[in-house]
Symmetry: C2
Subunit: 382 residues, 2 copies
């Protein structure tokens, strides 16, 4: 596509996303739901004005990278460590319940085992972007549950990566234990290093960083953010895990608060592309077929309830309200689920009708989650 | 290319551009020269780490759009009108001298007339991005000459568009006067409307805009900036003419100063992609051939001196120093010259060796201009 065409597509996607985002906000609906809807309307499934392209996908990726970077900036490692136990429990249970649920529902439907393994895996990965956006929009980002969700989402990503690797090995009939172990070591050490030693280094060298000019610090932090996002992706984790950790590390530099506004601006520019483009994947026509509709609804209940129970049980020691908040906060699925389903389809492990059901399930839980999150969080004041 | 590959290319281009930009600044060289050099080093001609792609080109385009938008924000229409006369003279003479010079040098070399018309046209278009960046970097953006350069650059773009249209018609042997007149009317009315009625509307409705939230105003202005850039491009003008005018219109809103910082941030992120990517086109190997080298040097002298004299004579009434500043400020050529040469080559009006010389000429004047600009501007204090 020509440069000018891309600029036009950018303009349309951005304008539509923000317009619908603002309109829905007026009637109390989280703006992220409006951005998803806008994407669905201008996307290939309806008006077909927007054609997903590498450029738009890159802008979207930067959007979610910056979103999680900002979440990292607002988080301190001590706060995360404080919620370590419930976060680990939430992540583990939040992987087990949807996976097992997906697997057994597949068995019930009479699908082959390999296919059911992938159905379960599709339901595993939490896409924390929507949760973060809703919490930021309504001022809930400082609650304990937000910290548990963030910590759990990182662990969730590691677990999801391993589950995918195992399932891939099993379904394709080749088991390479060494590779799995290496993958696990890489992922765990990446996260451990950045979340423990990283903040300590920046804290110790805080005066050094504070002596840099704002502009230079901004450039260095941009490079760190993108660099760690890429590294995380290369390891097999999501890019957002890397950028969240980059934010976490940089939040220890006291002077960094002076340039936080710049990242809010960058996020403001890029984030609508992420949710708008995610919306372009919404295909409601798949729901016209009654059988598919029933399957999608059952899948969605499993995916949603599985995460809800996982989060609730994992965090129940922090009180019922917090446990509920964590539960709904873990519900959103996103591009990772779509990617897993796509992988399974490309391996020919999953049939095309099941593939469509899986995509619809991921998108349905994505669409309903902003409403659920807003509702549950508003039960408690402040 | 994959999304992750693009992110890696972005990271490398941005890091290299800012690294070289900062290093050269330390020894008093304008950072834009460093960014060009960085692009040349990581680009296809040398290390070949960076492969120009639609995504990088789009980011670069946004970079220069925001750069000129910011220049527009810092300019008031009254200031432009005050320098109307020298600006018009500068633009007209700055088109005539390089065009005629290029044409006759081509005749001297014995090239056919059609080819010489395109050689002249290639030397016409000023690419004001480099000038603006250097003036901003060294704090010269408030001088009278800066206003003349900006106003002249817009007129220059209109004239360049018309010259290209005429030359294209003549060289390809078909003359469509109606089309030319329509083109002229479109371009002139676009600029006239935005530079006269536009600011009046925003000034009158200033209280209305000031009542909007900063976030909403930011979104609207982003949409206006991209929208006018696209519109300008569709008309046949450069995108930066549209975004400069968008900035000019918005600078009349008093409350807009509160969000100017956001555009500085956006510019900071995107602009290095523009100059870095421009640098990837630098191909020094063309200069190995002695004949080509001589031709390029003669071309460059014509292109540089033509603009210099045009600007100097056009602005001499504002004093010698200002006239000199305008002269050097109009020297930089850029992507427009490359596009014109490329067009001529694709029409088979220009032979491949002359095409390479033209590209080298555009790039050479691009490379030397930051130094010339900094030197001439530093002759006067303050």
């Amino acid at each position: 596509m020509e440069k000018i065409q891309i600029l036009i597509q950018m303009l349309i996607l951005f304008s539509a996303a923000r317009l619908f985002g603002r309109l829905l906000t007026k009637i109390g609906i989280p703006s992220v739901a409006g951005e998803l809807l806008a994407g669905a309307i201008v996307g290939p499934q309806m008006l077909h004005i927007i054609e997903p392209s590498t450029t738009l996908e890159t802008l979207a990726e930067i959007g979610v990278i910056v979103l999680l970077f900002n979440a990292g900036l607002e988080t301190h490692i001590d706060e995360l460590l404080k919620v370590g136990k419930p976060a680990v429990l939430t992540a583990v249970l939040g992987v087990i319940f949807p996976f097992v649920g997906g697997y057994f529902v597949g068995q019930l439907f009479g699908y082959p085992t390999a296919e059911n393994l992938f159905i379960g895996t599709t339901f595993v990965a939490t896409s924390v972007g929507i949760t973060i956006r809703v919490l930021q929009e309504f001022g809930y980002a400082k609650r304990t549950s937000a910290k548990i969700i963030l910590a759990a989402a990182i662990l969730d990503d590691i677990l999801g990566l391993l589950v995918l690797a195992i399932v891939k090995n099993v379904a394709l009939g080749k088991t390479n234990v060494l590779e799995l172990v290496l993958l696990a070591i890489q992922a765990v050490s990446f996260v451990l290093f950045l979340s423990t030693i990283g903040p300590r280094i920046t804290r110790k060298r805080s005066t050094f960083f504070s002596a840099l000019s704002c502009d230079f610090l901004f450039e260095l932090s941009l490079i760190l953010m993108l660099g760690l996002a890429i590294l995380a992706e290369e390891i097999g984790l999501a890019a957002i895990v890397g950028s969240f950790l980059a934010g976490l590390v940089l939040s220890e530099i006291r002077e960094f608060t002076t340039i936080e506004d710049r990242y809010r601006t960058i996020g403001w520019f890029f984030t609508p592309f992420f949710f708008g483009l995610l919306g372009t994947h919404l295909d409601f026509s798949a729901l016209k077929n009654l059988n598919t509709l029933v399957e999608v609804l059952i899948f969605t209940v499993i995916a949603v309830v599985g995460k809800l129970i996982g989060g609730y049980l994992g965090s129940i020691k922090k009180g019922k309200q917090t446990a509920l908040e964590v539960g709904v906060g873990m519900i959103p699925r996103g591009e990772v689920g779509i990617v897993v389903a796509g992988l399974a389809f490309s391996y020919k492990v999953v049939a095309s009708d099941v593939y469509l059901s899986l995509i619809a399930t991921v998108l349905l839980s994505t669409v309903i989650s902003p409403f659920l999150i807003k509702w549950i969080y508003s039960l408690k004041k402040g």
